[in-house]
């Protein structure tokens, strides 16, 4: 009987939540949080100048929607450009680190150390060196986005089954063919994980760079509304930044879904 009970407990632990439950539970939790927040503001428990209510934030968002959209486009452009360059730089670094052991030994510690420097600390230096234009913003985004891509790719390349490489060697495969057929596809899954992190870093990096100077972008908008003590608008821009980051992450998911059809087959088999 005891064995049966433990078996039952074991199987219930393994049961995956249904799709509906996965959606409903977080939505209810978020709604409850917003309700408490709204109540705290409406009852005067928290003064409006310290924390605007969710409804006030939404009202500000719609009131300033045109302006926020313009600033969002600037931020998105900077993020996309920086992320694009960051991915290319990350890819090149990963290739060199995989191909040349000396390059790996030389740059792996340097890269790790570089990531311990806070973005907010180097942003003013970049503005000092490159001015208020596009360059410092893009450089900052490149610096923050290339690392996750490099690390994930290097790790993916190194996780390749050596037997797979030996097999291709017995087929007479060249170094390029081994990369094309074995290493790159094996690293693809980890690349997308890195890309997902980089996508969020890209938006945040752009906003931080805009805080320090510029004429357009969500960071510039945030600086302006902060100076006028419009914290409801400040929160509205935070909402937009989150939405943009989430949208970019979803875009990476979509890209993964389209470029890795075999993962869908594996997923459906596991589900069976």
């Amino acid at each position: 009987m005891k064995a049966l009970e433990s078996e039952h407990i074991g199987s219930s632990h393994k049961r995956q939540p249904t799709r509906l439950r996965r959606i409903v539970v977080p939505v209810v939790a978020l709604a409850a949080l917003l309700a408490v927040w709204e109540l705290a503001c409406d009852t005067g428990l928290v003064p409006a100048f310290m924390l605007p209510s969710p409804l006030a934030v939404v009202r500000s968002l719609f009131a300033d929607l045109g302006l926020i959209a313009q600033h969002s486009i600037t931020t998105l452009e900077e993020a996309a450009l920086g992320l694009g360059i960051g991915v290319v730089v990350g890819f090149v670094f990963a290739l060199l680190m995989d191909r040349f052991e000396t390059f790996y030994l030389a740059f792996e510690p340097l890269m790790t150390v570089s990531q311990t420097i806070p973005t907010i600390a180097i942003a003013p230096l970049l503005v000092l060196w490159f001015g208020y234009g596009l360059a410092p913003k893009v450089i900052l985004i490149v610096l923050t986005t290339f690392f996750p891509v490099t690390v994930s790719l290097v790790s993916g390349f190194r996780s390749v089954d050596t037997d797979m490489i030996d097999l291709l060697r017995t087929m007479g495969a060249s170094r390029w063919q081994i990369f094309r057929y074995v290493k790159l596809p094996a690293a693809a899954e980890q690349l997308f994980s890195g890309l997902r992190i980089s996508a969020t870093y890209a938006i945040v990096g752009a906003v931080i760079a805009e805080w320090l100077g510029g004429t357009s972008g969500l960071g510039v908008y945030m600086t302006r509304v902060r100076k006028s003590f419009s914290y409801d608008k400040m929160f509205a821009s935070i909402l937009v930044i989150s939405a943009l980051s989430l949208a970019l992450m979803r875009l990476v998911d979509l890209l993964e879904h389209v470029t890795m059809p075999w993962k869908r087959a594996e997923g459906s088999k596991n589900h069976d």
Binding site: D161, M164, D166, R169, M171, G172, Y181, M260, W262
Partner: protein, 255 residues
């Protein structure tokens, strides 16, 4: 010692090492003729896979050479087909594209390679799986696909490193019979590594029993060579020849 001309593959006195100092094998020689299945049997860690690597040209021996139809191919990969214990199908390629991989690597167009592979699907019992992903196939089917890919490498010598050990007992038995029949029909010369004594006795025309313990400082050598008298019977495992081969292997391993 054979000159190698009458044999598909000949290994002459291979002395191998993992690190250039510790000897794994000493003067290991073997031969396999076209249409023949040769098994190498030995205890774990005796260097069976290292020998297979040398036959495949993946490692260069300290001394000795490997001849393919009399031609020296020592240390040069790409002349013999190699299949490992794992099926090693690339997960991002369909079964068709996995099978075609050796041809594509050799420079053939994808279309030409697919045209060559397509008629083989039925022969290898894989009809209808052309567009499936490897993850959608059972272990036995995946192994058949790996055999087909090995066959499409176009070499008449095939090296198999414990090819059935990852399969369940029933599938293993089926695959073993299927492979022996198929390889003899196709005229392949096969060198199979196994640590399963029954498997060696059931499959092989000739068995090389390897003895030695390289990790203990005793390089592996060929302890005995057993030629199995094969008869065309439904179940070879109930014949006297099978029992005789099995006894000889066990005696060789324990010598």
């Amino acid at each position: 010692m054979s000159t190698g001309a009458d044999q598909a593959l000949v290994a002459e006195e291979l002395t191998l090492s993992w690190d250039g100092q510790t000897l794994v094998t000493r003067d290991v020689s073997l031969e396999v003729a076209t249409g023949q299945v040769v098994c190498m049997v030995g205890k774990s860690g005796c260097g069976k896979t290292t020998i297979l690597h040398a036959l495949a040209g993946l490692t260069t021996p300290m001394s000795g050479r490997v001849l393919l139809h009399g031609k020296d191919i020592t240390g040069v990969p790409g002349h013999v087909s190699y299949m490992l214990q794992k099926d090693l199908l690339l997960p991002h390629l369909t079964i068709m594209d996995n099978a075609c991989l050796p041809l594509v690597i050799a420079g053939e167009s994808k279309e030409a390679a697919r045209a060559k592979a397509a008629p083989l699907f039925e022969r290898f019992g894989l009809s209808g799986t052309e567009r499936s992903w490897p993850s959608q196939l059972s272990g036995g089917m995946r192994q058949r696909a790996a055999f087909m890919r090995t066959y499409l490498m176009g070499n008449d010598v095939v090296l198999l490193d414990e090819p059935f050990s990852a399969l369940d007992a029933i599938t293993r038995g089926e695959m073993r019979s299927w492979y022996c029949e198929m390889s003899r029909e196709l005229g392949l010369a096969s060198v199979v590594i196994t640590h399963d004594v029954d498997e060696a006795a059931l499959m092989a025309d000739r068995i090389y029993v390897l003895v030695g313990a390289p990790s203990a400082g005793v390089p592996t050598e060929v302890g005995s060579v057993i030629d199995v008298e094969r008869r065309d019977v439904t179940d070879f495992s109930v014949t006297d020849e099978f029992l005789a081969a099995k006894r000889a292997i066990l005696a060789g391993l324990n010598s």
